[in-house]
Amino acid sequence: MATIDLQNIRKSYGKNQVIHGVDASIADGELIVIVGPSGCGKSTLLRMVAGLEEVTEGELRIDGRRVNDEEPKDRDIAMVFQTYALYPHMSVFDNMAYGLKIMRLPKAEIRSRVEEAARMLSLSELLDRKPKALSGGQRQRVAMGRAIVRQPSVFLFDEPLSNLDALLRVQMRLEIKQLQRRLGVTSLYVTHDQVEAMTLADRLIVMNGGVADQVDEAMKVYERPATRFVASFIGSPGMNFLNKVPIASLPPNLDLPELAEQAQARQTIDLGIRPENLALCDPGEAQLTLRVLTVETLGADTLVHGHSELVQGHPEPMALRLVGTHRFEENSTLPLKADASHWHVFDCETGDRLN
Amino acid sequence: MLFAAIAMQKKVYFRGTWLPWLLVAPQLIITGVFFMWPAVQAVMQSTQLPDPFGLSSQYVGMENFQFLLNDSTYLESFATTALFSVSVTLMAMVPALFFAVLADSVIKGSGLYRTFLIWPYAVAPAIAGIVWLFMFNPSIGVASYYLKFLGVKWNHVLDGDQAMLLVVLAAAWKQVSYNFLFFLAGLQAIPKSLIEAATIDGASPWHRFRTITLPLLSPTTFFLLVVNIIYAFFDTFGVIHTITLGGPERDTSILVYKVFADGFVGQDLGSSAAQSVILMVLVGALTVVQFRYIEKKVHY
């Protein structure tokens, strides 16, 4: 088992820097999910850990050992690829056994390891098949099996579920989580799907434009996003934003304690509030109102989409999530308020969290 | 530019300094020894004139080329080659297209027809020459015998036009198979829905062929045009050598044959080398045309 340390990791292609210095320490046995939109550098980061991309600058340590210049095979890691990368001409057994054969393990040992992994992944019946004759989910399992049999100290997952249909994705997500718990292997998992990230991760690394905006536990990231980008990326439906709100024009009942000190430094702020943190209230105590456009009833809860006006003449789209089933007339106006602790305040320019 | 695309390589690659060199070494050595060296040799010889005894040679600059370009037999050979190539290309492509259209239109048995139509491709040009020579032998050939009844007195040994016709037929014969195969593939790649749409629009079969099939087939046609011309230029040596030896007179002496005849039979080394150099330039040009075409197809 192992820890992974990223110290000021940078990556450039020629003059073009794509990763701008990422720091993270991953504890033994942890499952860390690197999440972000496409092009944010999350796969590049993973591939540097794998040894498939060179680290331009910074220190990469696995279990305290500097591995910047080591070949993938010497890093004691295994990787599951997005496309699975199964060898098409080899049977499931041979796919899983290939790495072990190269390690020159005894035949019996190889057999027992592969069979053990196959049992764990319910692949025992399929060992003689070629990848072509497998379903997407089965191929995915073989790719996992190939990683497991090597008994590495680190698992790397590069969007392993993105080629599966939605239903299978949810199921495999659970399986991966259980498997990782059972084996207790330190894991790095890359995905662009924030739901997958939230459900899997012990901790998240949220990447944005080559920078790790936040490295924290999933719920911390959700409740206290470090930047406006993180706030907008995590959560579905996404956080509501009220842009460039003059501090002076905030309603008196929206009392944000931290703002007093900020007031001197700036005139405006970006405000964020999650749809489920808003609640209906008496018109008298409303912090803001929502003009209803559409109502989506999902059974367990109701989503209301519309516009709100915190500042006069400056409407912003806003969503509201209510538990249970509710009905509202189109164009009706709903008085809303939220607990002060649920309001997120961001710098208009940098997007950094202010409260 | 396609040349750049062709030189492209993987994003993922291996490190190693001696291994890649070891891997390309066999190819490079053979290319160097049997392609580059002779080519350089040809260029050098083309600027030299050996003395009558072949003991020494002197540098004469462009004289060999000047001589060639003023030599009426060489210029005739150019004309002969042009006539030969165009004829072979036409004779090989038109029937091939015709049969391909027919084979594409049958529902049952097109695979069987294909089998029977493609095998002549495997016959060597030299053997094709022998086979056609046997058929058209002036005294015993079956074809020349029956031609008599059509009022044709067949003797390609004496009649230059007949000799040309015979080498064209023999050269085109095996190439029909090749063109047929590509035309058929081209036809089968045309979406049936296009044809059906035109049918609904009331277009007659011939009209449909002219306005839809033929234009859609034009990439294949152009490709085959280049391939057939290259074939006629360089791969038909065997046909000429077995049927006419370039004769009668020099009526079927195409450029490639003349290089051989002047160099090996005539022992005119300077001239043969100069001819080689001119041919190299020609192949170079044809290759570029061919690649340009592929480039176009790639960028569709």
């Binding site: 997005q82 060898y87 | 993922v12 490079l28 449909r208």
Partner: protein, 280 residues
């Protein structure tokens, strides 16, 4: 392409035309076969019979074991060695160089690439004399090495493999690297097995190419025992009709045609794939 409508007579016409085409295309070969089964006198009789005669065994035996300058059996063997040598040689060196060019970065990679590319512009026919001189200088006349070696450089095959390698997903190399495979293991365990069909298709084409070589063996083999069948047949062609042994020539022709034709017919799918691939 429905050039014919639903009319049955039109369909029939198409079939008749196709069959006619096939007959026309096959007739020269049929005649060759007929010629190979007649006696010398029968061939010289005008017009020659269009039905096979009874001299099949006699003529083929004569060709195989005696021939004109050399027994055809030996020439067949030479052709086989040459065709196999060229096909295998081209495939091996092209596979290796394509692998280096696609999967490695090394100094002068582009120069290597262009050098190989240049061979496209230099067919044997164009540089006959100097190539012959070099082969002679290297002592390659009348040897299998001389027949094979100068012909196995191949830009086409190299490009074909390059093309194919480019379609192999990068993840496979990465997976192999994660599995601890180095460049040689990756080539042997993964790339080579994946190239199987391409190799087979190319083999079919190159075998025919090698078998059908004419000019090069004509230059390089002066000793009749080293003749290949395709070039050796030229020596059997009668110069004057009186001394003609046409049946022998025709029997030799048939034997020269059969191997490559068999390859095409038996491996038709691979043959077509090879043909289409190598012209891309």
């Amino acid at each position: 392409m429905a050039i014919v409508g639903r009319h049955p007579w039109r369909t029939a016409t198409v079939h008749i035309l196709l069959i006619l085409g096939i007959v026309l295309l096959c007739f020269p070969l049929y005649l060759t076969f007929v010629g190979s089964t007649l006696t010398r006198q029968e061939v010289l009789q005008v017009p020659m019979s269009l039905m096979p005669g009874d001299q099949f065994l006699e003529n083929y035996k004569r060709a195989l074991f005696r021939g004109t300058n050399a027994p055809v059996l030996g020439m067949l063997w030479n052709s086989l060695v040459m065709a196999m040598g060229i096909a295998i040689g081209k495939i091996v060196i092209s596979l290796l160089s394509a692998y280096a060019i696609v999967y490695f970065r090394f100094p002068f990679r582009m120069l290597c690439f262009w050098t190989i590319f240049m061979t496209l512009m230099l067919p044997v026919e164009v540089r006959i004399l100097p190539t012959y001189e070099i082969a002679a200088k290297l002592g390659l006349l009348n040897s299998y090495t001389g027949l094979i070696l100068p012909l196995i450089a191949s830009a086409t095959a190299t490009f074909l493999f390059r093309q194919f390698f480019m379609t192999v997903p990068d993840e496979l190399v990465e997976a192999a690297r994660m599995d601890g495979a180095g460049p040689i293991r990756f080539f042997k365990d993964i790339l080579l097995p994946l190239s199987r069909t391409n190799i087979a298709a190319l083999f079919v084409i190159l075998f025919i190419y090698g078998w059908n070589q004419f000019l090069w063996p004509l230059l390089i083999t002066t000793d009749p025992s080293m003749n290949t069948i395709v070039m050796g047949i030229k020596q059997t062609v009668p110069q004057a009709d009186d001394f003609a042994d046409w049946p022998l020539t025709m029997a030799t022709s048939v034997m020269a045609i059969i191997p490559p034709v068999l390859v095409v017919l038996l491996m038709q799918r691979l043959f077509i794939k090879g043909l289409v691939d190598s012209e891309k």
